[in-house]
Amino acid sequence: MAVRNIAMREAIRRALREEMQRDENVFVMGEEVAYWQGTHRVTRGFLEEFGERRVRDTPISEMAIGGLAVGAAMAGLRPVAEFMTINFAFLALDAIANHAAKVRYFFDGMFKVPLVYRAASGWGNQATASHSHAPEPIFAHFPGIFVGCPSNSLDAYGMLKTSIRDDNPVLFSESIALYPKPSPMPDDLDEDYLIPIGKGDIKRQGADVTLVAYARGVDWALQAARQLARDGVEAEVIDLRWLRPLDMALVYESFKKTNRCVIVEESLPMYSFGGEIAANLQERMFDYMDAPIKRVAAEDVPLPYSKDIELLALPNAQKVVDAVKEIL
């Protein structure tokens, strides 16, 4: 089977396009998605192929984008609503947390809300404080919605397809830094290649320490693992892929073998992904624990503009290596 390196944005575009071809109820909406072909070029060519009915430019109205998708989904469509960046989804947090996630529950199962919110996430390129967030844990806080965060092209393809086909609301976070990054995808990939919601993946095998990550954190964990291997330390890298539901079974299996864990995330350290994983590990795996669980996250500050201090604030592979060495 021929395998080619494909950028994550191309994989996402392919998945979205195929799902729109497959199901007439799927449509995309968001700022600049149609005439300007998508700020991140994910929806390039969509307007020409699917027309204005199914590729809908919105005004800069995140509250309405968030809520309109809920109503359309309840009524039987399958909206894929794009937030140009996840920072702007804060404006829609009420629609997401109070309505997308809760409508099914507070009407006791009367309605389904089969929608996907796509959002470009993460920091970089001196985007400054208000445009530099990886706040996926905020959205994963709320029962009723699923949260997906792919780390490579093939995962993005299979996870987005699953998200669109599932009858529950999904917040699908796409790391801006990973959009251009090529990774292997088979040429003759099955159009029904689906990655189940909540299923994590072992990206690298190892017996000495477990690195738990998602999205861009997986890159840092894999880089760190290669560096550690040169010193004879074999790290197992777990990509949880979904922040809700969390595939803790996969983490527990690995931890039973390695007895050590470092959690890697792009997001902020307080009330975080790292805190959640660590709490679950100590509750369920206390007897297997040989060292304190370490967390590598962004520094607890708003992100500055100036390059050098911006980088100081952020996680990287070296910080992961250092954390591992502290607990070996």
Binding site: F27, R53, R56, T58, P59, S61, M63, A64, I65, G66, G67, L68, A69, V70, G71, A72, A73, M74, A75, G76, L77, P79, D94, A95, N98, H99, V103, R104, Y105, F106, F107, D108, G109, M110, F111, K112, A140, P143, G144, F146, T162, R165, D166, D167, N168, L194, P196, I197, G198, K199, R244, P245, L246, D247, M248, A249, Y252, N280, R284
Partner: protein, 363 residues
């Protein structure tokens, strides 16, 4: 105080009674009376049950005083049209024909409630009646309304979405964004602003730069059908009929219903007990602009002695509501862990679950 009942008599839309479409039949008027006395009986019973702690919880927003607003406007809809509202939703549910037993059971948090006891007073809905629900965040339902209307446009149907929104919500970002979106996408929504003079305790003129709330439509290029005396079901119906016809063919419409709430924002408000000016204001509305009396006077002036039919509707309302209370009180409360968890998610084979998977809910 925002509008006196007298001002309302002067300011509201002039209704063209000449058009046949705008003239409800005798049967319709009698049925409106039935609906309105049922709502009043239901709401006043809820109030009493709340005082007696037989309905518990914090929130109970009653439709007493608003009856003609919902009854007159929904009479302009057909069965395939959609309705959505905020938390003052009991009257809307009853007008659409939801079973009063299921509604009362929901007030009491029972398993037999329309939302299984999960939603309570503010979250009534019925898929069978195209009633997309009551919502508790001020303005939060407005983009949902636009989304429901989009589905009709998307599939080329001409069903409309009638959306009730309070005066207070017209100052909220959801209102502006949703109206604007409905305008540019030509969504068939009738935005009905139920202006009862107060957003919780704040008078309209202290909360809104534009106190003629329907004129906010102008900012988005949406057609306004003006301000209606919403204590008069016939006037409400006449304007709503035009707006619905317009929305079906063209896109969004706005109507401002001037009305008055008899029981404050919610039952926990004691404003009418605490302030003399408030109780005087309420008294004036009840004496001069009581919606049930206005409809009754209209029916009697048109059709003579219909007292027997009206009395039957009143007796039926008492019986139906009493039966709903008995049913609700005899119903079981949800109490198990299963009751707590179910319907958080739609069960799906695509969701990967193990004993150690957290955050996926249960089927």
């Amino acid at each position: 105080m925002v509008y006196s009942p007298t001002e309302m008599e002067d300011q509201t839309a002039v209704v063209d009674e000449g058009k046949a479409m705008d003239s409800p039949s005798k049967e319709m008027l009698l049925d409106w009376y039935r609906q309105m006395v049922l709502i009043r009986q239901f709401e006043e019973t809820c109030h009493q049950l709340y005082e007696e702690k037989r309905i518990t919880g914090v929130y109970l927003h009653l439709y007493s005083g608003h009856e003609a607003s919902g009854v007159g406007s929904m009479a302009a809809l057909r069965k395939s049209d959609h309705v959505i509202t905020a938390y003052r939703d009991h009257g809307i549910a009853l007008i659409l024909g939801m079973d009063p037993k299921a509604v009362m059971a929901e007030m009491m948090g029972k398993k037999t409630g329309s939302s299984g006891g999960k939603g309570g007073s503010m979250h009534l809905a019925s898929k069978d009646h195209n009633f997309w629900g009551g919502y508790a965040i001020v303005g939060g339902h407005l983009p949902l309304a636009a989304g429901i209307a989009l589905e009709a446009r998307y599939r080329g149907k001409d069903d409309v979405t009638m959306t009730y929104v309070g005066d207070g919500a017209t100052n909220n970002g959801y209102f502006h964004e949703s109206l604007n979106m409905s305008a540019i996408w030509e969504l068939p929504v009738i935005w009905i602003i139920e202006n009862n003079g107060y957003g919780m305790g704040t008078e309209v003129e202290r909360a809104s730069g534009q106190v003629e709330l329907h004129r906010k439509a102008e900012a988005y290029g949406i057609k306004s059908f003006g301000r209606v005396d919403a204590q008069n079901a016939l006037e409400v119906y006449a304007v709503a009929s035009k707006a619905v016809e317009y929305a079906r063919a063209n896109g969004p419409a706005v109507i401002e219903h001037v009305t008055y709430r008899y029981r404050g924002h919610g039952v926990s408000d004691k404003q009418y007990d605490a302030r003399d000016d408030m109780s005087a204001e309420l008294k004036e509305w009840v004496e001069r602009r009581e919606p049930i009396k206005i409809l009754r006077d209209c029916i009697e002036s048109k059709y003579g002695d219909v007292g027997e039919i009206l009395a039957k509707h009143e007796a039926d309302a008492k019986r139906i509501v009493a039966e709903s209370v008995a049913f609700a009180e005899a119903s079981e409360l949800p109490s198990s862990y299963q009751d707590l968890l179910q319907n958080t998610y739609v069960g799906s084979e695509l969701v990967y679950k193990t004993d150690d998977s957290i955050g996926a809910g249960i089927d």
